[in-house]
Structure formats: C-alpha cells, structure tokens
Symmetry: C2
Subunit: 357 residues, 2 copies
C-alpha cells in the first residue's frame, strides 16, 4: 500500500528534506548521485533515500530541466505517422535513445503544415535537447531551418538531405537502389520492363530514376518511354496504393507488352500487383513486380513482394546516435560539423519476381 495523498499536492524535494531533517541541497545531491554525494555519509544517504521512498517522492521533471537546462528528451517530429514507412524508423530511434537513457517523444503532423509548425514550436518550447524529423513527404527547408537555428538544437532529418543548413541528414542511397532494382529484373532475363516513377516533386523520384538509367546504360538496355508512367504529385499520405492501381491500369491501357514492372515504392507496387491480378495477369508467372522500401506490409501480400530495402530501423538508429553524439561532444555548440549519411539499400528477393521463361 502506497501512502495515499489526500491533498492534491505532490510530494516535493522540500518535503523529503523537512521530513528527513536535512537540507534540500543534500537531498538533491543524494537522490541524483551527484559528484558531491561522495562526501555524504552512508548513514544520511540511506536515511534520505528511505524517506524519499516512504513519501513516494517523484521529482518534478519540469523544475529539474528548468534549472539544469537538461532533460534528456529528444523530440521526434513525424510528417505522417500513418505511413508505414515511419514505424520501423521510430523503432530504431526509440531503441538507440533508450540505450542512451534518453527519452523520445513523438508528435505527428498528419500531413498538415500547420500542425507541423505548431508541434515543432512546442517541442522546442519544451526545450528538447535534440530533434529528429521524419520527412516522408516534401519538406520546405526554409521554415524548419529558421526555428531550429534560432534554438540551436541539434537536428537530423531522415529521408531528405537539406543543402546549406545546419541540419544533419540520414537517407538511403536512392540512386544505388534504383540501379539495384533494375539490375535484379535484368538478371532474371527481363527486357521489356515497365516503370512507375515517383511524384516529380519528390527528390527521391529523380534519384531512383537516375540509378535506373545508369544501369540501363551500363547494360545497354533500352527503356521504352511508352512503358513509363509517373505517380501524381498530389499525394496524401497513404495514397501510394491507390496511385499504384491507377498507374498500372494506365499501363495496361497502353497495350504495350512487358514482363516486369518496377514500382516507385512498396505501396504502389502492392497496388500494382492488385491490378495485375484482377486483370488475370499472374504475378510473378506472367509479370514480375519489384517495389522499394520494404515497409512492413510488403510481406503480407501473396506473392510476397520483392523489393529494395531501405534499412529503416538502422536509419532511425543512426539518426538518434548522431544527435546523442553531438550532444555529448559539444553540449554548447551542437552544429559542429553537419553530416549527411547515406545508407546502402539492400535487395530483398521474395516471391513477386521470377526469371522469364
């Protein structure tokens, strides 16, 4: 039975001090195991600890961080949490942050700019020590930059690289990924390959496509422009699936034969498979499909999706580590040297691709 509070007031450090007969300073030193605790006698130490426990003392973290200017909290700002892309990243972040005995608090902007800004403001107002932004959509650099620079909080953005700012970046090597994807299809013997490219506004789209073209050139493979479609720019969070469906319908409408499709990402690939299946085109027997990302739902389809994996959990790890390192290194001036970390993608062969025969 814990002692019940009748009053609404929480037990404070002073209560413990009073009750134990020592000063607030001593209590603070003991309870935090501060360096000075070396000089506190064993006896008082245990006595204080006991009283604290007895009173059910829980420190007020607000007061603590106000005074000490540290709170061991990292803010995570997610542009849209319902994107399955976010979850593994968050997992990575949470793991690393936890190891370092920090806490991460997450805010979700639900694809709305106004929320993004408000949440950013509040996180900064709460004096988080670092900030991780998950950019699963187009982010205008400017706004972010201004606020963050003012507060001098070390920041990393996952999924985008911001030029000429004080913000670190972690992202996958999209070009290598595009290269890899096409190489895989080519190695299976596919030559007539259709492409669903990403939205034009998304920097990823261009980069992946660049990788694709690089491989095509290297392998002397010709890309038929009539087998290339683009996803529309206006993309609310989980519209990738719908867009993939539409894109594939368009592709079928063109009546040019192809034996494989490379989709911009997993969600569009899953939409693509649906259209093909409904049209009676068996995947992978009649047509192979490859995605990009390896989001969790990629294993749920039949056939399970072959894809180019972004190491999302690792990306979260790395981002968190960057922040924590820069916090450890220079608590005073964080943006010592801005880093851009490109992670290697990895081909994950499942069931949706097969060699031509």
């Amino acid at each position: 039975m814990k002692p019940r509070k009748t009053t609404g007031r929480n037990t404070t450090l002073r209560d413990v001090a009073q009750q134990s007969g020592f000063s607030a300073a001593t209590v603070s030193i003991v309870l935090n195991q501060a360096p000075l605790a070396r000089y506190i006698s064993e006896q008082t130490r245990t006595h204080i600890e006991q009283t604290a426990r007895k009173l059910g003392y829980q420190p007020n973290l607000l007061a603590r961080s106000l005074r000490s200017r540290r709170n061991r909290i990292l803010g995570v700002l997610c542009f849209d949490l319902s994107d399955p892309f976010c979850t593994p990243i968050l997992k990575g972040i949470e793991n690393t942050v936890y190891q370092a005995s920090y806490l991460s608090v997450l805010a979700d902007a639900q694809s709305e700019w106004s929320r993004f800004e408000r949440h950013l403001e509040i996180l900064l107002g709460q004096r988080v020590e670092g900030l991780i932004v998950i950019a699963n959509w187009i982010l205008a650099d400017i706004d972010l930059l201004a606020d963050v620079e003012n507060h001098a909080v070390p920041t990393v953005i996952i999924g985008r690289d911001l030029e000429r700012t004080s913000v670190h970046s972690v992202l996958v090597d999209n070009e290598a990924g595009g290269y890899m994807a096409l190489q895989h299809l080519h190695s299976l013997g596919h030559r007539k390959i259709a492409f669903i490219r990403g939205p034009k506004l998304l920097p990823d789209s261009g980069r992946r496509w660049k990788g694709v073209r690089a491989f095509a050139r290297a392998a002397r493979l010709e890309i038929d422009p009539r087998l290339v479609v683009d996803l529309p720019d206006l993309r609310t969070p989980n519209s990738g699936f719908e867009a993939g469906i539409k894109a594939t319908e368009e592709l079928l409408r063109r009546r040019r034969p192809f034996t494989a499709i490379m989709a911009f990402d997993d969600m569009s690939a899953i939409g693509c498979m649906r259209t093909l299946t409904l049209a009676g085109i068996k995947v992978p027997d009649k047509c192979s499909v490859i995605g990009f990302d390896d989001v969790p739902p990629a294993i749920l389809t039949v056939p399970a999706l072959t894809t180019v994996r972004q190491p999302m959990e690792a990306m979260g790890d790395v981002a968190a580590a960057m922040i924590i390192d820069s916090l450890r290194a220079a608590p005073e001036n964080p943006d010592a040297n801005v880093q851009i970390r490109k992670m290697s993608p990895e081909l994950v062969v499942r069931e949706s691709t097969r060699s031509i025969s």
Copy 2:
C-alpha cells in the same frame, strides 16, 4: 532575416520587458492575453508585441508549466507502436487533442514492460495533464494503477477495461463483433465454419468467442470443436500474421472440410489467406475468410479482407475527449466518475467472403 543569436541564451520574457521598458508582469499579461490585459492600453500592448516579435521571443514552456501547473499536454503511452492497430487510434487522438488546442506526445514501449514503466514515469514526471494508454496487449492493472493514482492524472485506457480502478476505458464491444462475424458467414450459407480463436490470456478472445457462441445458439448452428484452433499466448507484437499461418496449416492438417474461416483478427486472417492460397484453396471461391479490427493493411490483400471493424479512429477521439472533458469539468479532482465506453463494431464486407456456391 531573423536576428541571429550569438550567445547560446534564448530570449526571455525579461529581455522583452527590459527592451520594451515595461515590467515582466505586464509583458506576460499582454502576451498571454490574460484577463488583466483588458486594462492594458492599446499602445503598450502593440509595443510589447512588436518587441517580442523583434527579439524572436519564444516562451519557455517548462517555466510556464512549472508556475501555472498547466501545460496542455496529454501523454499517450503505446504498448507497441508497430502494431498497425495503433496508428488509426493515434490519428483520432491527435485530431481531437489538436482541436482542443492540446498537444499529445507519444511514447512507445515496444512490448517491453520495463520501457512501459519508465515512459510512464517520465510522462508523469513531465506533469502531463492526462494520460491515454493504448493497450494492444495484456496489461497488468496493478502497476499502472499505483503510479497513476498517486499522481491523480485523469487516465483512459483504450482496448481494455480495468475493473475497480480510477481509469476510464474505451473499447469495442467484442461480443457483438463476434456475433456479427458469424452471422455474416451464416447468412452467406456457410455451415461448416472453422475458427481461429485468440490467445487465451487476452480478454478479447473470450468475449468474441462468447459472441460467436451466442449466435450459434440463436441460429442453431453447431460448432465442430475439431474446427477450432487457438492462437498461442506468447505473442510478440506482429506475430499475428505468422500465427495465422500456423493455425491454418494446423486446420488443414486435420482434414475436416470447411467452407469458411473466422479468424481472431485481421493479421491472423491475412496469414490464413496466405496459407489457403498457397494450398491451392481459392479465397473466397473455395473458402471465405473474415477478420476482426479492420487494420489498414486489410485493404491491401487480394482479395481484400472482409472484417468486423473496430472504429479505431473514433475510439481515439472518444478517449481524448473523455480526458479533456474531465479536465475541463474538474481540474482539481479528475476521477469524478469512471466511465467505460463500449463502441459498436461494424461489418465491412469486402472480397474475402462469398455466399456458398
């Protein structure tokens, strides 16, 4: 161009006061549009606002909440974020909370008890005004209760109902859902129906099953115990899919004919469909499948999953509203009357169920 800070210090209220020639009190009153602002002359008001803007003043929320004992922050504690069940709930919460101009911060325990407790402690230490717990797994009441009661923070738990505590609950009417699911299959003419029940330790399992039995009784439908399998208890977050695969394999091994399967939840239903498809049993032609929850991936499969929907977003809404209401009603003693809110499930017919030939 915002004015750059050369020093690491942030602009404080006092800076604004000094710069504008008024006292801190006045500045605070103006900037917060406090009741007393009525008496402040238009002129000073605009002057103060201007200086604040010029200096790029951002209030320190820590100091603010420390003093005013309010911070308009709700803590959300999720037992495992990678469960797709959470995302829609979070969306609902975030929406309602945002409307009420609160902020929600999320912490993810990643299925680990120790993290759950630590995060809980920190959220409470941060003096969040309310707490929402998303229980997508078995939660021992006791621990939660102790801490929460001590802090007298209004709390609601989503997905579980805790008896005899001061914690509100929001959950779906599992019994009605189970009833509904079986009714649907029955109305399509299915009589030989297999069941994949939930883990025994999960209260939901029993309740859904109770609903199933209730319908069976009402419709004079006999349930063949050899067509019933249970998901194992040891369930790490996203093992539902794997477990569904295993369970269906077991079912097929028994070689008792059936024309429909009712799965415990969507993830196991999706696993189930995979096994059936790989075994050459076409869904829904040869066998119908129904799930429970309507998690986002349910629409991604071919055929898309028929399921009993938990109104997850609405559940998030309701939970948040409960907290905010109880905060508005009685900021002093929150647990005025504990509520348990049961939400109605809804049948969502998609492509995985069909009437018997």
